[in-house]
Structure formats: structure tokens, C-alpha cells
């Protein structure tokens, strides 16, 4: 079976002394008994999210069916100082919804109502447990859709999307979650309901909407959102270009953008991924290519023709070995199918993989890919690369077998070196998957102690008792000291008096 590691939880305060058996009575006035899980077999499915390397069981899982139940739960948790980990669909890749052993796991998947589709102001008002794709499905009656489309969109929830500021293949042109959320209603740690944002083009005061987006469940529990809907593009085209050298593909990406085209999607895959997906779903990719680019264009007729011309020309100038335009909607689907099956396809090649999420300024693409392949060779595990090339977001997939002693450690070492590489060229350790528990150490590389303390102050402004998702996203200075990567700011020693948060 799986070789498991358990999470090092020494960073998390446990103020309460409650036992699992006491939990049902505590919450019996908040929600029906059937919605309170404490038996081990019912907790088991929640022992991790899609970051499966670590597992632990929460004290209890609560499954509220109404907003009022969420409010009552939060009040009870505050009263007894019980940490709360909020969970949507559990598709997070960094352990954001990983349970805390001495805390409550709050599953919001039943708050999945679509309350309103407003076609005049073009928004949808939805519960946090609504699945991403369900919004576009409901809006399609009005020829509208919700733009951010993470590959996990069949399953992941809007609450999780907001908490991670999720992206998708179309974010270069249509933005991330943060650009597509109009209003958030949340429960604060005192159990009060607060709404920020509006249906307007601008909001007064501090941009709390932006601050909550991407906050990984550490500031509040979102219970409702208004999300922006867009008119469906009338026409779209998908182009598939193949290259003999990965550098050429990288250069084509830069040149396409320099030519003034902003593609709706611009994705790159390396040879390992091309071959894996071709075996998996026969999308018609040229398996001898070193890299392929998948470029989606949409818009007004004549503009679209011009863009196709530009993209074709730029790819040809960068020595593309073939440039093909999908002939019809079915073929477009097929081109995309390959890209969208990349993860499961790699899953067939290796029992386990870690998916990295570093993002870099595009100009460093070729250099970074070269370095990744060096790291992979040096440490001795294969790495396949698939990425959102348009916005420089890399997803190196590090393949390993958890049954082989030491391989997880090796995979983590590769991941760690890749992320540090991304930071060193001016990028970031995570573009869309979040820090969670997975990248806590790398946060010490990207931020110095003063910056981490500033983050912690933001956390305390919302949640002074640190009950919302403690131990995630922002590392303690203690951890950074142990990891040994803390920036020393202006020659000052940052650990004179190490606060443990």
C-alpha cells in the first residue's frame, strides 16, 4: 500500500482538550446528527485532498446544508477554540483542505445552489459548493459562461476556486478567479455574515475582494459569491503547431504575443507529455515533436482571421515542423482533449506524481526547461512538462513510485529545486495551486522574515485566534529557520526572538 507520511503539526496551536467522542454533542444544536461524522471509516475519505503525499484524520467532519448551520458551527468552534479547515471538493493540489488532527473539517459541498442568473447585469449568484462547470452550464441558456476553467472544473467548487484564485487555460485573455468575482459573502470568526464587493465596476475602501481571493481558507469562510458571466465568443479557432526544439516553441510564444495577439489559450507540452497523452487518448499529436503549442483564438470575424494569420506566421518563422488549424468543432475538441488528459495520462506512466506550479517571466522559458531536465537527471526521477505557456505557468510533473523507499523524498527534492529555480529568475513558487502545506518551505525562499510577519499580521486582522486553517500557506519563522533558507534582511539576524505562529 501507500507509504504515508504524516503532517508535522507542531506549528498548530491546540488550545482545546476535546476528545472525538465529545464532538457530536457539541454540534448537535447546529446541524442534524446525520451531518456530523466522527467514525473512522467516515473520516477516511477526508484524510487528504488531491495532494495525497500526506494524510491525517480530523476530529470530525461536518456537512452543513444551510448558511445558518455554517454560522452556528463557526460560533461553536470559536467558543471551544476548535480549528476549522474548510473544504470544497477536495481537488486542491497543495493540501489546502488537508485536515488538522485536532480540528473540524467543514465540508461545504452541500451548499451547492445556484440562486440567480442575472443576464442583464451578467452575473451568477451561487453557493460556495457549486461546481465550477455547473455555473457555465446554467448560464448557457443566456449564451453566457463563467470564464475561469481549471482542468478540474467538473469537480472543483467555486469556494475552492476563490480560496485558491484558480486559473485555467483561458486566463491569459480572460483573467484568473480574482478578475471574475464581483462579490463575496463570508462568515468571519465571530460568526458574523459580511458582504464585500458589488455588481458595480468598482468598490470603495480596501480591496477585500482581492485579499479574500487566494487566501486559502485562512481568513474567512465564503458562503456565497456573485461571479461575472461573459457572452460566449461567437467564433473560435484552435491551432496545433509542432516543433523540433523546445526553445523554438518558447520563442514562438514570445513572438505571438509580441505581434499583438492575445490568444484565448496558449498551451505547451513537451515530448514526454505528448507521447503519454497520445497513448492515452489519440488526440492526433505528432509524437516525434520535441514540443507542441496549442493556441486557441476567439473573437470578431475579421479580427480572428488576422490573428490566425499572425500565429501561423510566427510559428513558421520559429521553424515549426507543422502548423494545423482544427477543421471543425469536433477536431477542436480533440486537440484540447489531449491537453486536458495530460494529468491522467501521466498517471498511467507512473504510480504517483507531484505536480509543480511555478510561474516565470516567459523570456526564461528555455533556460528553465533546460535546468529542469538537468535537475531531473541529477536526482534521478523523470519529469514531464505541460504548461500554460501564455502566462508562464509551468506544471512539471515529477513521476515517482511511493512504494519505493526514498522516492517521495527524491520527488520532493526535485520539486523544491524547481521552485527555487523559478524564484531565482523572478518568478513565483505557485501560479494557481496555492501554497497549502506543500510549499511552506519554498515560501521561506520567496519572502523574507519581515514579509512573512506582515502576512501574519493580515491573518490576525481577520482571525486573531488563528482558528481558520492554521498551519497552512504562511510558514512560521521557526520553520524557515530550520529549513535554512530564510533571507537575511539587510544583514539583520531575523531569529533573535522567534515568534511561533
Amino acid at each position: 500500500m501507500y507509504s504515508q507520511k504524516s503532517l508535522n503539526t507542531d506549528e498548530i496551536h491546540h488550545k482545546h482538550m476535546l476528545d472525538r467522542s465529545e464532538i457530536p454533542a457539541l454540534f448537535s444544536s447546529c446541524l442534524p446528527k446525520a451531518c456530523i461524522f466522527t467514525s473512522i471509516e467516515k473520516l477516511r475519505p477526508y484524510e487528504c485532498d488531491a495532494y495525497t503525499a500526506y494524510r491525517s484524520l480530523p476530529l470530525a467532519v461536518l456537512l452543513p446544508e444551510t448558511k445558518q448551520q455554517v454560522i452556528d458551527i463557526v460560533k461553536t468552534c470559536q467558543k471551544y477554540q476548535l480549528p476549522i479547515v474548510t473544504r470544497g471538493a477536495g481537488t486542491g493540489l497543495s493540501g489546502g483542505a488537508h485536515p488538522i488532527e485536532n480540528g473540524i473539517l467543514l465540508n461545504l459541498s452541500k451548499l451547492n445552489q445556484i440562486y440567480e442568473i442575472n443576464h442583464e447585469l451578467q452575473y451568477a449568484r451561487v453557493g460556495p459548493g457549486v461546481r465550477n462547470l455547473a455555473i457555465s452550464e446554467a448560464a448557457s441558456t443566456y449564451d453566457l459562461y463563467y470564464a475561469p476553467d481549471p482542468s478540474s472544473q467538473i469537480a472543483c467548487t467555486i469556494g475552492g476556486n476563490i480560496a485558491e484564485n484558480s486559473g485555467g487555460v483561458h486566463c491569459l485573455k480572460y483573467g484568473l478567479t480574482v478578475h471574475n468575482i464581483l462579490e463575496i459573502t463570508f462568515v468571519n470568526i465571530d460568526g458574523e455574515v459580511i458582504t464585500v464587493g458589488s455588481e458595480c465596476y468598482e468598490n470603495p475602501g480596501y480591496d477585500l475582494l482581492a485579499l479574500l481571493t487566494g487566501s486559502e481558507g485562512m481568513l474567512a469562510i465564503m458562503i456565497q459569491a456573485k461571479v461575472k458571466l461573459l457572452p460566449k465568443p461567437a467564433n473560435k479557432e484552435v491551432i496545433l503547431a509542432a516543433f523540433n526544439r523546445i526553445e523554438d516553441a518558447g520563442e514562438a510564444v514570445a513572438n505571438i504575443i509580441a505581434s499583438g495577439v492575445i490568444p484565448a489559450g496558449l498551451e505547451m507540452m513537451d515530448q514526454a507529455v505528448i507521447q503519454a497523452t497520445e497513448n492515452f487518448c489519440q488526440a492526433g499529436y505528432p509524437t516525434d515533436a520535441a514540443a507542441i503549442l496549442l493556441c486557441e483564438l476567439d473573437g470578431f470575424d475579421e479580427a480572428l482571421q488576422w490573428e490566425i494569420q499572425q500565429v501561423t506566421q510566427q510559428c513558421n518563422q520559429c521553424h515549426a515542423t507543422s502548423v494545423r488549424k482544427a477543421n471543425n468543432a469536433q477536431e477542436q475538441e480533440l486537440f484540447w482533449k489531449g491537453r486536458k488528459s495530460a494529468f491522467p495520462a501521466i498517471g498511467q506512466l507512473a504510480p504517483d506524481y507531484l505536480c509543480m506550479d511555478g510561474t516565470i517571466p516567459r523570456q526564461h522559458l528555455a533556460h528553465v526547461l533546460g535546468e529542469i531536465s538537468n535537475i531531473s537527471e541529477r536526482i534521478g526521477l523523470p519529469v514531464a512538462n505541460v504548461f500554460h505557456a501564455g502566462d508562464g505557468n509551468l506544471h512539471p510533473l515529477i513521476m515517482y513510485d511511493a512504494n519505493n523507499a526514498g522516492e517521495l523524498d527524491k520527488a520532493e527534492e526535485i520539486g523544491s529545486q524547481i521552485l527555487e529555480l523559478c524564484v531565482s529568475v523572478g518568478g513565483t513558487i505557485t501560479g494557481e495551486h496555492g501554497v497549502g502545506i506543500e510549499k511552506l518551505n519554498q515560501m521561506c525562499v520567496q519572502f523574507n522574515s519581515q514579509e512573512l510577519i506582515q502576512f501574519e499580521q493580515v491573518k490576525l486582522a481577520f482571525d486573531p485566534e488563528r482558528l481558520f486553517n492554521p498551519g497552512k500557506a504562511i510558514p512560521t519563522l521557526q520553520r524557515c529557520a530550520e529549513f535554512g533558507a530564510m533571507h537575511v534582511h539587510a544583514g539583520e539576524l531575523p531569529f533573535k526572538d522567534i515568534p511561533r505562529f
Binding site: L121, C171, C200, N203, L211, T213, I257, V435, Q446, E451
Partner: protein, 353 residues
């Protein structure tokens, strides 16, 4: 880069922190008319000037906060790029940092981005005099809380912005502006229909039964659309929108208090006395009105929007509509988190923050 200048600003802030002296942060001083006045020692960012990094194909530009916006926009124009939020100036001395701090977007806002959408990263000096860096240069970045975007529209009350990286976009090859005679209802309906059929509208302005819309794109496309929509093509599109954006147009030359009202764009009428015009499909209404602040605030609030007193000789205690107590408390907590001694632009945005 400019380490000495930044260090000196840090020292000033640190001293102010230790002695609990308030500071009035100033860029180009072009928006001192806007929001509240801060009576305190001035700390200026104008020494922090210059573009740090710009490679057109990367779609971002990094510059020091005190860089005149005009210099940055001229550079972008040279490379056929632009800020998609079309920042207003109000005076030529406008700086990048001041624009971010005030958070104002121009005519293109509903059809492209708000300024907050384009913030990739900011370096700031917090209220303890620490120079911190948040965000980065890439559009996708979820490492830590989104502190860099939080600086946008915070009026310097959370930190002195020292540099910023901002997303840029290709500039459309061509633009024309078409003038129509329409009642307000008809104007709004037409705009919405055109937008739904994906006509590349990039600005709208309505006043006195006249509607101006800007169409941007390739030259042949723009002229096809002109044929399709009709309307009279005005002589100088560029000058027209500059006058609207920067308030040089006649409407804005007034001694009557000028209100900036943000409402859902389908709002019919804001029932307030005074002359009005709109931008942003109807989502931004400018109203010249002698009504009391309470009345204007309340009226817009009832419409699910908010109002601010943009220009006026006399000012109420707060130029922005009041907010509810819970949101107010979060603001105060955040202010304290960044500026524990309340020395950075105290009261600049709200008298209590």
C-alpha cells in the same frame, strides 16, 4: 536600484513611527483635491523615478512609484502597447504610485480592466519603515495573500508604494468614435446589445441625449462596424476621450460639487437634483449637485452602489460614503496590521482610517 533614496524614505518612516508623527505621502500632487486632506509633514516619492524593466513581449512594465505616468505611457505607445485601464491624469504631474493609490480607472474600464486587475506586484514601505516586496511580475501568482493588489485604492494608508509591476496589453491599431442621438434608455439598450454581439466597444459617454461610443481594432474591422451601426464619426476620437478622462470637457468645468456615483450599470435614474452624464455603460455617473452628502450617499447606497464627492470647495467629514460597522472594523484591523502607529496618510481615505 535607488537604494539610497528608498533607504532614506525608510529612515523617515521609521523615525515617524518611533515618534508617532503622521506623514502626508505625495507623488505628483495631482490628486490632492481628491478625498481628504492630511495635515502632516510631507514625504515625497518623486525621487523614485524611472522605468526599471520593460520587455513588450512579457506584457508587463516595472517602474519606480514616482515615475510620471506620461513617461510610462509614452514608452508603451512607442511599442504599440497600453495600460488597459486607461488611467486618468487630472494634471500632467500624475505619477504611477499616485495612480495606484487612488485606484481610478478610465473610460476603457468595463471593456478591458480596472487598474486593480492589472497590479502584478508592488514594493512598499509599511508603517514601521520596513521595505517589503509582494506579488511579482507574472499574472499568475498565489504565494501569500494578495497584498500588492490591496495597495490599489488604499490611498497610501497601508504603505508607501516604492515600485510596481503592471500588466500591459497591445494597443488596438485603430479607433473611431461614433456619435448617436438617443434617449438614455435607448442608449443603454443599444450599448448592451452591441456588447452582447461582441462589437469591440472600448468606451461610452452619454450626456444630454447624445451617446458617444469608441470602437477599436483593425482599420477594416472598425470601418465595417461603422457601416453596420451607423452614427456620425467624430473628428478626433483621441482628443475627445482625453477630455472626458482628464475632466477637461465642458461638463466638468464647474463650481458646483461634482459627485462620482458608481452604480449597477442598468440603473435607470439616480434621483438627485443636478446635471449628469455617464460613462461605463451607465456604471459611472458624474452628477453636479448641491444636494447634501447624506442624501447623495444614501441614494446611491439604495441603488446598491456608492458615491464619492469628487471635487468640491467645501468638503464633508468624509468624501466617501460610510460603510457598515463590520467592514469598517476589518479596515481598521488591516490599517493596524500595516501601520500600527497610524502615521501613513491618516484620515486620507476615511477620517477614521
Amino acid at each position: 536600484m535607488l537604494n539610497q533614496q528608498i533607504q532614506s524614505l525608510c529612515d523617515t518612516v521609521k523615525h515617524a513611527y518611533e515618534t508617532k508623527q503622521a506623514l502626508n505621502i505625495q507623488g505628483g500632487n495631482s490628486k490632492s483635491f481628491y478625498a481628504n486632506h492630511v495635515d502632516a509633514q510631507t514625504i515625497s516619492t518623486t525621487d523614485l523615478s524611472g522605468i526599471i524593466e520593460y520587455q513588450p513581449s512579457e506584457l508587463y512594465i516595472t517602474a519606480h512609484a514616482g515615475t510620471p505616468l506620461q513617461i510610462i505611457e509614452d514608452t508603451l505607445t512607442e511599442h504599440k502597447q497600453m495600460f488597459s485601464f486607461e488611467p486618468p491624469y487630472y494634471s500632467p504631474s500624475t505619477t504611477l504610485g499616485g495612480s495606484i493609490a487612488c485606484g481610478l480607472s478610465g473610460p476603457r474600464r468595463p471593456y478591458a480592466d480596472a487598474i486593480r486587475d492589472c497590479i502584478l506586484g508592488t514594493d512598499i514601505i509599511n508603517g514601521k519603515g520596513e521595505h517589503l516586496s509582494f506579488g511579482g511580475k507574472v499574472i499568475k501568482n498565489v504565494a501569500g495573500y494578495d497584498v500588492s493588489r490591496l495597495m490599489c485604492g488604499a490611498f497610501g494608508t497601508l504603505g508607501i508604494i516604492t515600485q510596481a509591476s503592471i500588466k500591459v496589453l497591445p494597443k488596438p491599431e485603430h479607433e473611431i468614435t461614433l456619435l448617436f442621438e438617443h434617449h438614455q434608455q435607448q442608449a443603454k439598450k443599444n450599448i448592451q446589445d452591441w456588447l452582447n454581439s461582441l462589437i469591440p466597444i472600448t468606451a461610452t459617454y452619454f450626456q444630454n441625449d447624445h451617446l458617444w461610443i469608441r470602437i477599436s481594432g483593425l482599420e477594416n474591422i472598425v470601418s465595417t462596424i461603422h457601416k453596420k451601426l451607423g452614427g456620425e464619426k467624430i473628428h478626433s476620437s483621441k482628443t475627445f476621450w482625453q477630455a472626458i478622462k482628464n475632466h477637461q470637457a465642458d461638463f466638468f468645468q464647474t463650481d458646483i460639487p461634482l459627485w462620482r456615483c458608481i452604480v449597477p450599470h442598468n440603473t435607470n435614474e439616480i434621483v438627485l437634483q443636478g446635471e449628469s452624464c455617464f460613462e461605463w455603460n451607465g456604471g459611472l455617473r458624474w452628477i453636479k449637485s448641491e444636494e447634501t452628502a447624506e442624501k447623495v450617499f444614501k441614494t446611491c447606497q439604495t441603488l446598491n452602489g456608492y458615491a464619492s464627492l469628487f471635487r468640491s470647495k467645501e468638503k464633508p467629514a468624509d468624501c466617501f460614503a460610510p460603510m457598515n460597522n463590520q467592514v469598517k472594523k476589518l479596515h481598521m484591523n488591516l490599517k493596524h496590521a500595516f501601520d500600527p502607529e497610524n502615521i501613513l496618510n491618516p484620515g486620507r481615505m476615511y477620517s477614521w482610517c
